[in-house]
């Protein structure tokens, strides 16, 4: 196992993420229950989509207190690769691993569609890999409206932390932001679902390079050091 997929009560894209990373991209992945600790051999973590704890209170608000979050924070602090997709992005924001928060879509309804996205110059391997300038990835969320205070927004933009922007904003996100990274470039969060765009029967295959760029540094990681707490 190299990639840990964290399963919270209410996660519902955990199987999808495991299937994508393990079966489709061929990187050994395993689901880890939120009450367990992060296995020592973990080289990257995916926080999958869903409705952790029913999204009660605020999306991601309760999951941040799950036992595994201590391990996850340590892992990220040591430079471990973390990707939050959809609810996973919301959780990472609530946990303070990424700046900002995600609130209700401005249309007030859930939106599920194949969304056109612009890949930003994030000064990062993300946009230096084989991802094109414009891609499409499925979105499926009711609370994907990205908000952040002005000063942080300026920092995010100045540091080129925006990974993806919506082309045709579906939820009212500020600066059309669909995905960001942290300043160090090891924690990613995005509302779109790359794991839903990787197989022939999917609307497109643009999720493959997105996931690959996230998994790329695995070869050089030092797992024992990352996961020890």
């Amino acid at each position: 196992m190299k990639v840990a997929i964290i399963q919270f009560p209410g996660s519902n894209c955990d199987w999808d993420a495991e299937h994508a990373v393990d079966q489709i991209l061929g990187v050994p992945a395993k689901r880890i229950w939120h009450k367990d600790s992060l296995p020592g051999e973990t080289e990257a973590v995916v926080v999958p989509g869903g409705f952790s704890f029913g999204d009660y209170l605020r999306c991601g608000a309760i999951a941040q207190f799950s036992p595994i979050m201590t391990d996850l924070k340590n892992f990220a602090d040591k430079g471990g690769q973390v990707l939050g997709i959809c609810n996973g992005f919301q959780i990472l924001c609530e946990a303070g691993l990424l700046p900002g928060a995600l609130i209700r879509n401005d249309c007030l309804d859930f939106r599920c569609l194949n969304q056109s996205l612009k890949v930003e110059d994030s000064n990062d391997r993300f946009n230096r890999s084989k991802i094109g300038n414009s891609i499409a990835l499925p979105i499926a969320h009711g609370e994907g409206n990205y908000r952040v205070k002005d000063s942080t927004l300026e920092e995010i933009e100045a540091n080129k932390q925006v990974l993806l922007r919506y082309q045709g904003n579906p939820n009212g996100s500020i600066h059309d932001i669909a995905g960001i990274r942290n300043r160090d470039g090891n924690v990613y969060g995005m509302m779109p679902h790359p794991e839903r765009a990787i197989e022939a029967h999917h609307p497109c295959l643009d999720g493959i390079p997105v996931l690959q760029s996230f998994l790329e540094p695995l070869q050089s990681a030092r797992p024992a050091e990352l996961a020890s707490s």
């Binding site: 009560p9 209410g10 519902n12 894209c13 199987w15 999808d16 299937h19 994508a20 229950w33 009450k35 989509g49 869903g50 409705f51 704890f53 029913g54 999204d55 009660y56 309804d109 859930f110 939106r111 599920c112 569609l113 499925p138 499926a140 009711g142 679902h193 794991e195 839903r196 197989e199 022939a200 029967h201 999917h202 609307p203």
Partner: protein, 771 residues
């Protein structure tokens, strides 16, 4: 009415259970005097209030099918051809849902169920808990749910109340299903004033499981413990099953406590915990969802199926309100609860699973010898009934029926009473049809549903059928799902209307490349005590049963919802037909839209010629009239076999069936792809009706438009001739975004496709903007 010599159970500590059972109280419980006499016979004494309540819910139409059980026997429940795929593994009515074989040791459990009355009163919660209930029926069977669809009916969309119901229902479905993470593949939605005040919300779920994973809902093994799992019981949904089995009235809004409140997060935990528990070999003996009639139904049904007795203690039932009496606990329809019977000595294994998921698992009783269902509270027996009397001995009625006058009138109506549409009015008529919410795009609805979760969505909602890849089972096979029922046809001719619902549904699957395997049906009708309403029910069931037998597609389960009435009478008969089909290979999947210019458009089946019952009559003249189109089951079978085999041979690249709005609507819908195309279409004659409107807008059955690449046209035409399927090339797709239609060399339509598509796409959103 009561024999004074009869006694009751000893006095209960709860004084409200010692009330005298009066005829008024019996009537309030929806029981007829003769039914009450029957109860006295069975018990040999007077029931107490709790027992009366138990009989009332178990003998309601919702649980007992007392007005329909005889009719339902007409449905074939097994395949005649024992060598074909799709054999029935669990038959209709035997368990919580039917199961069919899909090969490779895998099976599919699926079922549709109504939540009409709750949704009429409280649309969001009514629809949400409808989804929750059907999902529990599926995972109770041991299956992992893999898709949802809905069949929805609303009144006139102009009515603000209807908009409120429509928005609430869609949002309830979206909220519950999305949270569960089961892809919702859309379904069918019709708008007709007959549903004003009484919308229909039918929810379907399908799940996948290994043959050996099939679970039973039977309580067997004397001494085996009975567990209650899931959240605590409250006073919500009290007597929901009886509520669903009477007409909605002005006062129904006061029944709001009879509508349950859903918690999709709880359901997700319950789903995962139950699947995890059922994966432990030999642990679970029986499992049943606490749906309609809650704890009552699950205990007496599991005991009855297991030929056992069962005893439970209500003091052990997790409760989230204080001071609940036995009547309330037994009749509550609090959601997301299950009854589980496990092998004695293995209790810890169950408890550990539920501890992991932070859910209650309370041991509330055990399986007993004999046949009694015994309920205790505070050390006193509060109900002691023969379990089978509640299930197998429920009354069965054969109601009087008589043909409603409008059915005879429809047969006599002729289209000659209106003059044929002149050529210059065709485009405006087409635009009116495209703007009708039944025909218009439903994107506003299904973009609120997560149809891509679980990574399997292959053909998204909006095509003739939804298709999901069975990736979760590790299979490179595809399950297709379609729902259908045109109420207008059923209203005018219930027998033929039901036949059409079946053949259209099956044709939708064939247009997607899928072979139909089995049916689940939801019979939505009016009050069966009205002879006219019962006639419609009977005829529809006959029609559906005949179609099932003809195509050897069995019914593996379903639901009956009667008493659907509004101010002016019964709803139109609505026997919703849902069918699952299988596609063996990715290359054999077809969509309904043309994808590139230069494709030939071929009409399979003769030129349409019947206007009876059509949407054109509705949008143009406000009429629900006429002779319903003929159904030729033999021709239909040839057409569908041809479609599937030529799709598999790679000759057909897309297919769309002619349904509401007829040929012209089907044609333009095929051009509404992601990048709209144009088409040049030329029809050589008016066909047998000699009427332009009947040709372009008639809803004759057994017609399909297909897209074929130019080099394959000759093969398709030759093979159609050999297969006895009428076929003619009527046009080509073009890249000009213009539709040019000539009939008999006369130009009839010259329209911009993007303009038509905008009318079709914007119709529902523009209605919904104002709420």
């Amino acid at each position: 009415m009561t024999d004074p010599s009869m006694t009751s159970l000893p006095p209960n500590p709860d004084p409200c259970l010692n009330v005298e059972i009066t005829p008024e109280l019996v009537a309030q419980h929806g029981l007829l005097p003769e039914e009450y006499e029957n109860i006295l016979q069975i018990l040999g004494r007077i029931p107490n209030l709790t027992e009366l309540g138990i009989f009332s819910v178990m003998w309601s139409e919702h649980c007992a099918y007392k007005n329909t059980r005889k009719l339902l026997k007409l449905f074939p429940t097994e395949k005649k051809d024992k060598d074909s795929i799709g054999q029935v593994l669990v038959k209709a009515g035997d368990e919580n849902a039917g199961v069919i074989d899909i090969g490779d040791g895998w099976g599919v459990a699926f079922k549709i169920e109504s939540h009409n009355h709750p949704s009429a009163i409280e649309p969001f919660e009514g629809a949400a808990t409808g989804v929750g209930g059907i999902v529990r029926d599926i995972f109770t069977m041991g299956a992992r749910p893999i898709l949802l669809t809905n069949s929805l009916r609303f009144g006139d969309i102009e009515n603000p109340q209807v908009k409120r119901l429509f928005r609430g229902v869609v949002s309830g479905i979206s909220n519950y299903g999305n949270c569960l993470g089961i892809p919702n593949m859309g379904g069918d939605i019709y708008f007709d004033s007959c549903y004003e005040g009484n919308p229909l919300v039918n929810a379907l779920c399908a799940g996948i499981l290994r043959h050996e994973e099939i679970q039973k809902g039977a309580a067997t093994g004397v001494g085996n413990p009975v567990y209650y799992v899931g959240p605590g019981t409250g006073r919500d949904g009290l007597g929901g099953a009886s509520f669903a089995s009477r007409e909605l009235t002005e006062e129904s809004a006061a029944d709001r406590p009879a509508v349950q409140k859903g918690d999709p997060f709880m359901e997700k935990l319950l789903l995962e915990a139950c699947l995890e528990m059922m994966a432990i070999p030999g642990l679970v003996v029986g499992i049943q969802d606490m749906g309609a009639a809650g704890l009552t139904c699950s205990t007496c049904e599991t005991a009855s199926r297991g030929d056992s007795g069962i005893e439970i203690d209500l003091d052990l039932v997790p409760q989230r309100e204080t001071g609940m009496n036995s009547y309330e606990i037994m009749l509550s329809e609090s959601q997301e609860r299950m009854l589980v019977i496990v092998n004695r000595g293995r209790e810890r294994e169950l408890e550990e699973v539920f501890e992991k998921w932070d859910l209650h698992a309370a041991r509330i009783g055990e399986v007993k010898e004999g046949d009694r269902m015994v309920v205790r509270q505070k050390g006193v027996v509060v109900a002691d009934l023969p379990a089978k009397s509640l299930t197998d001995e429920a009354p069965i009625y054969d109601q009087p029926s008589s043909e409603p006058a409008h059915v005879a009138q429809a047969r006599d109506w002729t289209v000659d009473s209106i003059s044929s549409l002149p050529a210059n009015e065709v485009t405006p008529a087409l635009e009116k049809l495209l703007a009708h919410p039944t025909i218009a795009s439903k994107r506003w609805v299904w973009k609120q549903y997560d149809h891509m979760v679980m990574s399997g969505c292959t053909v998204e909602p909006g095509s003739d059928a939804g298709v999901v890849r069975l990736s979760i089972a590790g299979l490179d096979k595809y399950l297709a799902i379609a729902n259908d029922c045109n109420n207008r046809f059923c209203y005018l001719d219930p027998y033929k209307g039901a036949l059409i619902a079946f053949v259209e549904c099956m044709r939708n699957l064939a247009c997607s490349g899928a072979k139909a395997l089995a049916v689940t049906d939801n019979l939505n009708f009016g009050n069966p005590n009205k002879p006219e309403a019962y006639y419609m029910l009977k005829e529809c069931v006959k029609g559906l049963a005949d179609a099932c037998a003809h195509f050897d597609v069995p019914v593996v389960g379903g639901n009956v919802s009667l008493y659907n009435e509004h101010g002016e009478g019964s709803i139109d008969p609505t026997p919703v037909v849902s069918m699952v089909g299988l596609i063996d290979h990715a290359d054999h999947i077809t969509r309904s839209s043309l994808s590139y210019p230069g494709q030939s458009i071929i009409l399979l089946g003769d030129l349409p010629h019947e206007l009876g019952g059509s949407y054109f009559l509705q949008t143009q003249y406000g009429l629900k009239e006429g002779v319903v189109p003929e159904v030729d089951l033999g021709a239909e079978a040839k057409l569908q076999n041809f479609l599937i085999s030529k799709i598999e041979n790679g000759l057909i690249s897309c297919a769309h069936d002619l349904a509401e709005g007829g040929l012209l609507v089907a044609l333009v819908e095929m051009l509404f792809g992601e990048s709209p195309l144009g088409a040049t279409v030329s029809i050589p004659s008016l066909g047998s009706s000699s009427r332009l409107d009947a040709l372009l807008f008639g809803e004759s059955q057994g017609r399909v438009l297909i897209g074929v690449s130019s080099e394959k046209v000759d093969s398709v035409l030759n093979e159609a001739r050999d297969g006895g399927v009428p076929a003619q090339v009527i046009g080509q797709s073009t890249d000009g975004q213009e539709l040019l239609l000539t009939v008999n060399d006369e130009e009839i339509v010259r329209s911009d496709i993007s303009k038509l598509q905008k009318i079709w796409e914007d119709a529902i959103p523009s209605h919904m903007q104002s709420v």
